[in-house]
């Protein structure tokens, strides 16, 4: 079944914005979506997959390399032809084994040909694309450890069964979960560039609109897709345009100071907060088609870039978002 169109999702603007920003600049480093059940988290991620512009990659390359020279030797590709392929969005299911995630010895080849060959895992498949983990807070610890390492280095190193293989694994991590079922380890939290909290809409009209659209989607799929196709395409074009203009975007010294001051006031750990905030604000400015970064951009993306980086006071009732918003008020005025 085709996924629900991204542009047809009612409300949830922050979530949509965060996802678009990662599509503009993949180095922002992923989105974490936390919220109640039935708020459209999974729908949005799957919709994003359909929305993303295609990438150019070598055909049949296990790690979706862009150039022939980058195809790893173990792939044993005979012809290296570039073709256009949808941006990979790979699901990492909760119960996935380590073998499945990192890749392992190819049993089939080993058995039938007596050959030692590498069978790439999900991390290889997700290279240059998205890795989506639903219920990320329930992920088993040993898989989390593995992800932390790879997400950090952008490279997957496999040392097992006499194999010694490394391949690029640069992906945008998208996680979703329900905070009532458990919280995330701070180390993993930090790896997500942006984080948004979603709640189910409270206004009856919005809720009715959601149901109506969903109903139309299920009832008359073809007509509904046609109706939203153009808007999805518009978003896609805007993303492509923003990617181009991102390089030309001016970043005044003053905004850098703003970013630093803000992070300092919030006491976020490390410098990753500053970097992400800056990247996110730049991507946002490019999305808005502005020529220079301003305070307004920073103000708009600060909550999603910083709310999960605050030194966690487990007993603070006000969510990170409110704390960030307060500080933004104080610092940027």
């Amino acid at each position: 079944m085709t996924p629900f169109p991204f542009s047809a999702i009612v409300g949830q603007d922050e979530m949509k914005r965060a996802m678009i920003l990662t599509a503009i600049d993949g180095s922002i480093g992923g989105v974490l979506v936390f919220g109640d059940r039935g708020t459209g988290k999974s729908t949005a991620v799957r919709a994003l997959a359909a929305l993303l512009p295609p990438i150019k990659a070598i055909k049949n390359c296990p790690v979706n390399s862009a150039k022939a020279a980058e195809v790893p030797g173990w792939a044993n590709l005979k012809t290296k032809r570039v073709h256009e392929t949808p941006t990979p969005v790979v699901d990492l299911p909760l119960g996935a084994t380590e073998d499945r995630v990192t890749g392992a010895l190819d049993i089939e080849k080993a058995l039938t040909k007596g050959e030692k060959a590498f069978q790439p895992g999900l991390l290889a498949k997700a290279n240059r694309g998205y890795l989506y983990i639903d219920e990320v807070n329930l992920l088993e610890d040993h898989i989390v450890d593995l992800l932390l390492d790879v997400a950090q280095s952008g490279e997957n190193v496999v040392e097992r069964e006499g194999l010694s293989i490394r391949h690029p694994a640069r992906f945008v991590l998208v996680g979703s979960g329900n905070p009532e079922e458990g919280e995330l380890r701070p180390q993993l939290l930090d790896r997500f560039g942006l984080s948004v909290e979603v709640t189910s809409p409270k206004e009856i009209d919005t809720r009715v609109e959601v149901i109506k659209r969903r109903d139309a989607f299920e009832n008359d799929n073809a007509a509904f897709m046609l109706r939203w196709q153009a808007e999805d395409a518009a978003i896609r074009d805007r993303i492509l345009k923003a990617r181009k203009s991102l390089t030309k975007l001016k970043t005044p010294e003053k905004t850098l100071t703003d970013v630093a001051e803000l992070c300092l006031a919030l006491g976020s750990d490390g410098l990753r907060g500053e970097l992400t905030l800056l990247k996110a604000a730049r991507a946002y400015a490019a999305w808005r088609d502005d020529t220079a970064l301003t305070r307004a951009h920073i103000r708009d993306v600060a909550p999603m870039a910083l709310r999960h980086r605050l030194r966690r006071d487990p007993l603070d009732e006000a969510g990170g978002g409110t704390r960030v918003a307060r500080t933004v008020e104080d610092v940027l005025g």
Partner: protein, 569 residues
């Protein structure tokens, strides 16, 4: 057990279907529209449930909570692989869409629930019939999965004779299928169209019932449509909507909509009165105090763990045990296939793989060559999670003196629990009974919220509180958690287990329960929140074999602060 709450005469609609008819109807609707996800059937195994399951597609696949990922998603077919000598893949159960029956659904682990939830989300025609045999109210299907199933039917009150004398549909009701099936799904029919005001109506009903999730109204809509198809109509009637709402919304309701806005609730005016009288230091019945931090040792949990370790009952983050059955996989080892050890097929094949050419040449035989020396045995390490059960005294005496500080103490412990990734449950006792405020969770925010809203007042039913904690502890043990009970009380138990105000009996009861707890080897910690240490409580701690900690008296400055907070500055 409560009868499936919410429907019957209490809601704004009336439905004349009993749970048996609901169950049959739900199965029929499910066959018409697999997009409804499935149905949870809460019933013990027995003739009633068997009779119901006869109506399910006989080809339905049966799955059980301990099902492996290979069985679900497919994997290596070992016997075929070994006989043919080349890789044979097995098809998983999820590869072909159709109804699945999940037995013992209340035991399904999070992992399985997540897998099934994803499968249902993909909307490829899978439906799930979850047989929930939970005996206790909190033994139930994983909420993540339950959310994705449209229906929830409680058959626990239905006897076989109720269904055999079933009237074949009362006036105006859809006919239910005769027992034993005979119903064929009408797939592939276009769903009837829905007027927009019906969508509006259903959404409003769901929201009136306090249902946040938007899946609920969607399910109601689908169920209404399926019902119209069932009755061979091409439009939806009011009855369809009523029945659909009763089937899909009733069990999700978090509040009962009040058609009469008058009849103001009793507590609020009382509370305002209380606040007025607080200045005169009257004894308020319900006293909501803000939590203040009490002076507790920082590393209480660590100390507890250390103490237990000295006693030879190591229990830090929960016992780690190595086994060959479940848990996090460790690298497999060479070993013999004996005493129920599970062979690591892949590991074994991997070990054998490099030798195949040599062995084939040596023996001249084709096919796969596996020698006993190649066998690899699976090993697992399991670290059971720890559950901290806070059992908090919210009685009048405690409320007046130290409830706020007790809350502060719990919060400090919570902060430590957070650092250790422990699960937390909250039991409060006051008046004549104990209440489970928060079932085991890892969510600190929720715990904090429940704790802040904990009112004080009434007697001290210490024994009842301990019984409630004990129940939680045994549940937790069954789920593989390692429970620890933290009791916070001033120790002046004055309500016996049977609810009578008898100080002596209350103390005896508490001792009795303490012995049971100790016999079950449940770890405990007793925190005395009284103004001065209570000898009876120290005795209780000894009976429990628990750490005893008198809550240090907060200094005057802090106390005055807490009073100021309590009086709202």
């Amino acid at each position: 057990m409560k009868r499936a709450a919410g429907h019957g005469l209490r809601g704004p609609w009336k439905t004349f279907l009993d749970s048996w008819q609901q169950a049959t109807l739900a199965l029929q609707l499910l066959a018409i529209d697999p997009g409804l996800g499935g149905v949870t059937i809460r019933a013990r195994s027995g003739p009633v449930r068997d009779a119901l399951l006869k109506q399910v597609d006989p080809d339905a696949k049966r799955i059980h909570p301990a099902i492996s990922d290979e069985a679900l998603f497919g994997g290596l077919d070992l016997s075929a692989t070994l006989t043919t000598g080349h890789l044979v893949q097995e098809q998983g159960l999820l590869a072909t869409p159709g109804p699945m029956i999940l037995a013992m659904a209340e035991r399904a682990p999070v992992r399985l629930a997540a897998h099934l939830a994803v499968a249902l989300d993909k909307n490829t025609g899978h439906t799930l019939i979850a047989l929930d045999e939970g005996a206790e109210p909190d033994e139930m299907l994983d909420p993540k999965l339950a959310e994705r199933l449209a229906f929830h039917i409680d058959l626990s009150d239905i006897a076989l004779r109720d269904i055999s004398t079933e009237p074949p549909g009362k006036a105006g009701q859809p006919p239910t299928a005769p027992m034993g099936g005979g119903f064929t799904p009408t797939r592939g029919r276009a769903l009837p169209s829905v007027p927009p005001d019906i969508i509006d109506q259903i959404t409003r009903i769901a929201s009136d019932l306090g249902i946040d999730s938007l899946r609920a109204p969607l399910f109601a809509l689908r169920a209404a449509k399926a019902q119209a198809i069932l009755n061979d109509r091409d439009h939806i009637t009011t009855e369809d909507i009523e029945t659909a709402c009763a089937l899909t919304l009733a069990h999700r309701a978090t509040r009962i909509p009040e058609p009469q806005p008058q009849e103001p609730e009793a507590p609020p005016p009382e509370q305002t009165e209380n606040q007025n009288t607080e200045d005169t230091l009257d004894l308020p019945d319900e006293l909501l105090l803000d939590a203040v931090r009490a002076l507790l040792p920082d590393n209480l949990l660590d100390r507890l763990a250390a103490q237990k370790a000295r006693q030879g009952r190591g229990n830090g983050t929960g016992a780690a045990r190595k086994g060959n059955r479940r848990g996090r996989p460790l690298p497999s080892r060479a070993g013999k296939l004996s005493d129920g050890a599970r062979i690591d097929i892949i590991g074994t094949l991997r070990t054998a793989a490099p030798w195949q050419t040599i062995r084939r040449n040596a023996t001249g035989r084709d096919g796969l060559h596996i020698r006993p020396s190649d066998f690899r045995i699976k090993r697992f390490e399991e670290k059971s999670d720890r559950l901290l059960i806070f059992t908090v005294d919210a009685s009048g005496s405690a409320a007046l003196t130290r409830l706020a500080e007790a809350k502060g103490a719990v919060e400090l412990l919570l902060a430590q629990a957070y650092a250790r990734r422990d699960h937390v449950a909250l039991v409060a006792f006051r008046g004549t009974e104990a209440e489970l405020l928060l079932p085991p969770t890892r969510s600190l925010v929720q715990t904090k919220r429940r704790l802040a809203g904990l009112p004080g007042g009434g007697g001290t039913p210490l024994a009842a509180g301990m019984v409630a904690a004990f129940e939680q502890a045994t549940h937790a043990t069954r789920k593989g958690l390692t429970p620890t009970i933290a009791i916070l009380t001033d120790g002046r138990a004055n309500i016996a287990l049977d609810g009578t105000a008898d100080r002596k009996q209350a103390a005896t009861d508490a001792q009795q329960i303490a012995k049971v707890l100790r016999a079950h080897g449940i770890d405990a910690i007793v925190i005395d929140t009284g103004n001065r240490p209570e000898p009876a409580l120290r005795n209780l701690a000894q009976t429990l074999d628990a750490a005893y900690l008198p809550l240090p008296r907060a200094d005057a400055h802090r106390l005055s602060q807490s009073v100021a907070t309590a009086l709202g500055d």
